[in-house]
Symmetry: C2
Subunit: 178 residues, 2 copies
DNA sequence: CTACTTTACTTCACTGGTGAAATATGAGCT
DNA sequence: AGCTCATATTTCACCAGTGAAGTAAAGTAG
């Protein structure tokens, strides 16, 4: 219920105080990290909120959107796991839910019978097409006051961050040697 | 398991295809939103991962950090809820967990006996001081390649976004009139 | 001082997400 | 073929977070 601005203000002060006690803390980076996490979390909430009227949650929606955006409208649980950053366990639940609502179908693959093929149905497509437009005003509103340059900068910095995070996992594992 | 860069690439393509079917979609803003959510989520995971060796989760840690950063080392569940964006329900669980580990104490307020006063213990302070330093290299690593200007831009843009999100909630409620 | 409202927190029941083990198919080796 | 190892998905048991209702103490009005 507290406004995000207030949370940020208190975080700024908090980090300021902590970095006096622990001077070798990378305070600027810690601030940016907390900022990103807070804003990201609030965005998440906003999305969840916006989807609530349609009785669908964020991960179900994301899964459906990936299928919708595919030229052939189909995928497999494994692939969907990769792109939604969900575990296989949860993808089973998501698929169950979407099948129950008739938005996707689930069938056995013919080349590889371990696989399951998931496909968006016409009803699923209609659902997405009805769902999206009401979301647009809020998406735009989140970025009011962003110049084109701002948008480009933001995109660039987030992508650079993504790149760094990918490397972060690659490097520090002297545990893969058998 | 998939690298974030790959997820981003497929998101870019997906939005490209969708925006051809639904041309009035604010594609640039949608991309930024998805980017932010993906990077935010990955950051979250990274933090959770980094805290795992200390057997503490993100929200418990955040709660403890707020107490640590306070001049008097104390707060109340209600206040902690505000600043951690947690529900009161969950704060009860968090406090239970931290009390059980001896990192905080929980006692009744004397002015207002509805209130509960939560205070970090010396053991809690020691725990934080041991926990933080190993985190620093990763925090710094996430922002390698960021110039000072980049950091300032990123901070500015995130704060602007936070501001927009705060307004987003204020405006669109013609439901508060009784 | 009693009765009503509000505030602060807790309890309970449920949803969402995860790790470990189970199941089943495929692929490679001999 | 028969054996072993890897891959794809599901099931099960558990942790984390939420909404609604419960409890207890203030605040407020008649």
């Amino acid at each position: 219920m507290a406004r995000l601005g207030d949370c940020i203000a208190m975080m700024d002060e908090g980090i300021g105080r902590v970095s006096q006690v622990i001077p070798d803390m990378p305070a600027a980076e810690a601030r940016l990290t907390r900022l990103l996490l807070m804003v990201g979390h609030t965005f998440d909430e906003a999305v969840e909120q916006a989807l609530k009227p349609s009785k669908i949650n964020h991960s179900d929606f994301l899964t459906l959107m990936i299928l919708y955006s595919r030229p052939d409208g189909s995928s497999t649980p494994g692939e969907l796991c990769e792109y939604t950053s969900q575990g296989a366990t949860n993808m089973t639940r998501i698929a169950n839910a979407l099948v129950k609502r008739g938005l996707i179908t689930r069938g056995a693959s013919e080349e590889d019978r371990r696989r399951v093929v998931i496909r968006i149905t016409p009803a699923g497509r209609r659902f997405v097409q009805k769902l999206l437009p009401p979301l647009f005003p809020r998406v735009s509103a989140a970025f009011v006051g962003f110049s084109d340059t701002d948008k480009r900068s933001f995109s660039r910095l987030l992508r650079k961050l993504a790149d760094n995070l990918d490397r972060l996992d690659e490097v520090p594992s002297p545990k893969d040697a058998p």
